[in-house]
């Protein structure tokens, strides 16, 4: 066997550059495997990069994530393929052939220093996806300051082709003639970690998301309260820039629902709502916070203590009720929630400044494409089906292809990381086995 063939057999493709994909990549790379980490967006980091803090330790999310991102970037055994998509996969365990499309950044990655002068001059401003559309970005952009790789990308859809960026770039990195590039790889195993997205709650018209400016979804709120977010971490109402005096969270919007949503529990919402509630109390001690829930799912280590601390120390108010509707006062943009306090058996209403909806977290729509490319089975909700839920949770119906993170089932960050390590271990095992077969 040639050296390149040997190396190919020693390689793993990781699909998805979120925390699970990164963890699996680092584990494998540390073991001496060659890792190709494919990420659809211009930067790795995933959902965790968007979070302000993590529960229950209240760590700064990006502060613990950024070193891992850099490690992925610097690791000699990891090749980052950002802004790329897996297009075709053939072969079988121990010997997969993969075709990857590298979308054109219109920037020479070798030359770009990430100085950002181009973005300062770019005249186009569009809603920033990373800030959930609350802030703006330019047509030439990095998704967020800690992006890895710190290379700019031109958004072809919105670019005016004015070439201002090209004129100001001292590194001469702008290349508007860049074409999509196809990369062929030979790998022994594949780890899939495509993550989640938030359920579209526009259809839940009773809560007025999309209609009322002060009704937000949780990830929008996370950006709003984050120091690197569009308001620099100042907690403001979007309608009038006023500091809110009362905020309500509504749990289970579309989750645990037999109609018009998903039937499973997203497993992270009760905890992140508690975290966000504490953040509000830290930022604005005058601001009251109500969490409307049906059942509090606080099952993890230290979770109950976290909620108790939120209640007793931070004064977060938990109300066992799912509000029926949110009504906006068209003059003041204040919001009134109607609910039945199911402990007191009384119908009540409460006026708040901001409503934060916690929508169901669902597998990414793109996981359907991945399943088609790899031949992976999906369950009724769009999660990748493990080979055996109990004893082979990261194995799939395709030998040599492993799954981890939220795309496998609902879970939080520590669980995703643990599962990523498991998937990495299983991938390494498969490679070791196929190598030993070759030798004998």
């Amino acid at each position: 066997m040639s050296v390149s063939a040997m190396e190919a057999k020693n390689s793993v493709l990781v699909i998805g550059g979120g925390i699970a994909g990164m963890q699996a990549s680092l584990d494998l790379a540390d073991r001496g495997m060659r890792v190709y980490l494919v990420e659809n967006t211009p930067s790795i980091g995933g959902r965790m990069a968007q979070l302000d803090k993590t529960f229950p330790t209240m760590d700064c999310s990006i502060c613990i994530l950024a070193p891992k991102m850099i490690e992925c970037f610097r690791h000699p055994n990891i090749t980052l393929l950002t802004y790329s998509e897996v297009q075709e996969v053939s072969g079988s365990t121990g010997n997969f052939t993969v075709k990857i499309l590298k979308k054109p950044r219109f920037i020479n990655e070798e030359k770009c220093t990430g100085c950002g002068v181009c973005a300062q001059h770019c005249p186009v401003e569009i809603p920033n996806e990373f800030d959930m559309g609350i802030g703006v970005r330019k047509a030439i952009y990095v998704p967020f300051p800690q992006a890895v790789p710190l290379k700019y990308t031109i958004d072809e859809e919105h670019c005016l082709k004015c070439r201002l960026c090209q004129r100001v770039c001292q590194a001469e990195a702008v290349d508007l003639n860049q074409k999509p590039e196809v990369v062929h790889l030979n790998v022994g195993a594949i780890v899939v970690a495509t993550g989640f997205e938030l359920l579209d709650v526009q259809g839940r018209s009773e809560y007025g998301y999309g209609k009322y400016q002060n009704v937000l979804i949780s990830l929008e709120f996370e950006r709003l309260i984050c120091a690197s977010g569009p308001t620099g971490g100042h907690l403001l109402r979007l309608s009038d820039g006023r500091i809110p005096k009362r905020i309500a969270f509504i749990q289970c919007v579309g989750s645990r629902s037999l109609k018009g949503g998903v039937s499973f529990c997203s497993s992270a919402c009760c905890m992140y709502a508690t975290k966000e509630a504490i953040l509000i109390r830290e930022h604005e001690p005058e601001c009251e916070v109500y969490i409307f829930y049906n059942e509090l799912k606080v099952f993890g280590k230290g979770f109950q203590d976290f909620v108790t601390r939120a209640q007793n120390h931070w004064g977060v108010k938990y109300v066992r009720a799912l509000p029926g509707e949110v009504v906006e006062d068209s003059k003041t943009s204040d919001l009134t929630l109607w609910y039945e306090d199911t402990r007191e058996n009384v119908t009540k209403s409460i006026k708040v400044d901001i409503v934060v909806l916690c929508p169901a977290l669902v597998p990414r729509a793109a996981s359907k494409d991945v399943s088609a490319i790899l031949g992976l089975e999906l369950d009724e909700h769009g999660f990748f089906k493990p080979k055996d839920t109990l004893f082979a949770p990261v194995d799939t119906n395709v030998p040599g292809v492993f799954i981890c993170g939220y795309c496998q089932s609902p879970k939080d960050i520590p669980e995703s990381v643990a599962q990523a390590s498991a998937a990495a271990a299983r991938a390494a095992e498969v490679i070791a086995l196929s190598a030993s077969k070759e030798v004998h």
Partner: protein
């Protein structure tokens, strides 16, 4: 010939009853056909009493009142006179004939007059056929005893009640719960699940539900609460229902009487001159109870007969000659929602047989209640219901698409549309009425904050539980209507119009300008825009 007609006589305590007494002590003989019921004032006699008498077999009803000016309660007798005139119109519609109801002024000293009046009335009734609508036994009692436990457990299963998560989203949505803290759909479900059904069945809560489906629309567990309530009402205490029924259940009495095969209604008086209708045809127009409502609520001057008139004129204009049943029976909506499944099924069977006779394959209705009942409940409860049921707005919107509706006037008004619960949330028809309104030149269609699936009920359904809470819901909705600054409120349900007209005719807790509004049924608006009205 009714050789021995039965007469129920409602006699005022202060005059006619004493008059009858005088006739007795004066030994003036009069036919023994009369059964006297003493009331404190003739004004107490409700049209529902009269209908109840006929339903249970009376051949004639007599009301004896004080002479004008003599009433102990100032004007009760005059009110009685007005009411009985109105009731006579209902009897005419029913085909019983107005002459079976008689009101006379009889003072306490007019014993001879009382005897003479009864003699004349008995003689007149003897010349007529016996009351054809006489019902054997108790018309409200079901044919066979109902197994309460079975009905409830089946209803629980069918309506997903067991999936309730007790989140209270239903109560947080319920328009009644917002004004009545004691009412909670969640707690009703909870009590049934805990086995306290006896208490629930004998209480008032089951009759409070508006069946507006707002709770059900939003329930994450897909519990269909209104349907559960509908099923439970079948085995709930009818006495409580009667107490809570608006207009003393006259709507249900009329519907029950229509189950009698001998009924020959005289209900086509609304038909405009020159209108073309047929006995047979592809398209049947189901008019509904509009002729009755127009009479019963004539004080409101809503001119509800304009609705069928507009429908027929509009259909004629586009070359459709609809089939109409001249002896059309009630669809049975109110019976179904008040738990009288037996009589509902009877009506449904009679109606379906009549539909088949017309040879129609499409049925159009302008009333959302008829629409739901025919399209959903008939199809579920009556086998072989192979008709396509359309709401008028759906038919009109089809005609708009084909370019067949030609509007030749620019009305130049701002219109707000209210979604009736039964058309909207029950049946999912939100867009056709809007499309029709928007297609009229010069009309600006505006929306209330709570529209489509979030629309609020007009406050009363199935003539149940009309009280301060429903009034509060109505006023709340009308203020929302006013807030749109529209000139005209358009809806497709005549009941919505009746309920709003009623609440604004009473003493209001807010200034009248905040709630009074010009209203129009969609069909009438369309006919006006086509210069047909």
């Amino acid at each position: 010939m009714a050789t021995e007609p039965k007469i129920v006589a409602f006699l005022c305590n202060w005059c006619a009853y004493a008059g009858a007494d005088l006739a007795g002590v004066s030994r003036i003989s009069y036919p023994p056909n009369v059964r006297a019921i003493r009331v404190m004032c003739s004004g107490r006699v409700d049209p529902a009493f009269v209908l109840r008498a006929f339903e249970t077999g009376a051949d004639g009803v007599f009301v004896g009142a004080c002479h004008p000016g003599d009433c102990h309660y100032i004007s009760g007798n005059l009110k009685a006179e007005k009411r009985m005139e109105n009731t006579k119109k209902l009897l005419k519609l029913l085909g019983l004939g107005p002459e079976r109801l008689r009101l006379e002024w009889i003072s306490a000293s007019e014993g001879a007059k009382f005897a003479q009046v009864i003699r004349d009335f008995t003689a007149d009734l003897s010349k007529m056929e016996p009351n054809p609508l006489k019902v054997k036994g108790n018309p409200k009692a079901p044919d066979a005893p109902i197994n309460t436990k079975k009905v409830i457990s089946e209803a629980m299963r069918k309506t997903n009640v067991q999936y309730c998560l007790e989140c209270g989203k239903c109560t947080g949505s319920c328009p009644i719960s917002k004004v009545n803290n004691a009412y909670s759909p969640r707690r009703i479900v909870e009590r049934f699940l805990l086995g306290f059904e006896d208490r629930m069945l004998s209480g008032t809560d089951l009759w409070t539900c508006l069946s507006c489906f707002l709770c059900s629309e939003r329930c994450p567990s897909d519990v269909r609460f209104p349907e559960f309530v509908m099923a439970c009402r079948r085995v709930a205490s009818p006495e409580v229902m009667e107490e809570l029924c608006a207009h003393r259940g006259i709507s249900m009495a009329l519907s029950r009487m229509m189950t009698n095969p001998k009924i020959r209604q005289d209900r086509m008086g609304w038909l405009p001159e020159g209108a073309e209708i047929s006995k047979r045809g592809d398209l049947l127009y189901f008019v509904g109870c509009l002729p009755y409502l127009d009479v019963f609520f004539e004080d409101f001057n809503l001119q509800l007969s304009k609705i069928p008139q507009s429908v027929v004129k509009t259909l004629n204009k586009v070359g459709i000659k609809p089939a109409i049943l001249s002896n059309e029976k009630c669809c049975g909506h109110d019976l179904l929602w008040t738990g009288d499944l037996e009589n509902f099924e009877r009506l449904a069977k009679i109606n379906v047989a009549d539909f088949k006779e017309t040879g129609a394959n499409r049925i159009v209705t302008a009333c959302p209640e008829c629409y739901r009942t025919l399209k959903k409940d008939y199809a579920e409860l009556v086998g072989n219901f192979d008709f396509e049921v359309l709401h008028l707005s759906e038919l009109l919107s089809e005609l708009v698409d084909k370019g067949e509706l030609k509007f030749d006037s620019e009305l130049g008004t701002k219109v707000v549309y209210h979604d009736p619960c039964r058309l909207g949330r029950h049946m999912g028809v939100y867009e056709p009425p809007r499309k029709v309104i928007a297609s009229i030149p010069g009309i600006e269609l505006v929306e209330m904050g709570r529209n489509r699936e979030n629309a609020i009920c007009c406050g009363v359904s199935s003539w149940l539980s009309c009280n301060k809470h429903s009034k509060a819901v109505q006023i709340d909705r009308l203020r929302e209507v006013k807030a749109t600054r529209a000139d005209l409120l358009v809806t497709t349900c005549p009941k919505c119009q009746i309920h709003w007209k009623c609440v604004t005719s009473e003493k209001l807790p807010v200034s009248p300008e905040e709630v009074t509004m010009e209203m129009r049924d969609l069909s009438v608006l369309v006919a006006e825009a086509m210069h047909l009205a």
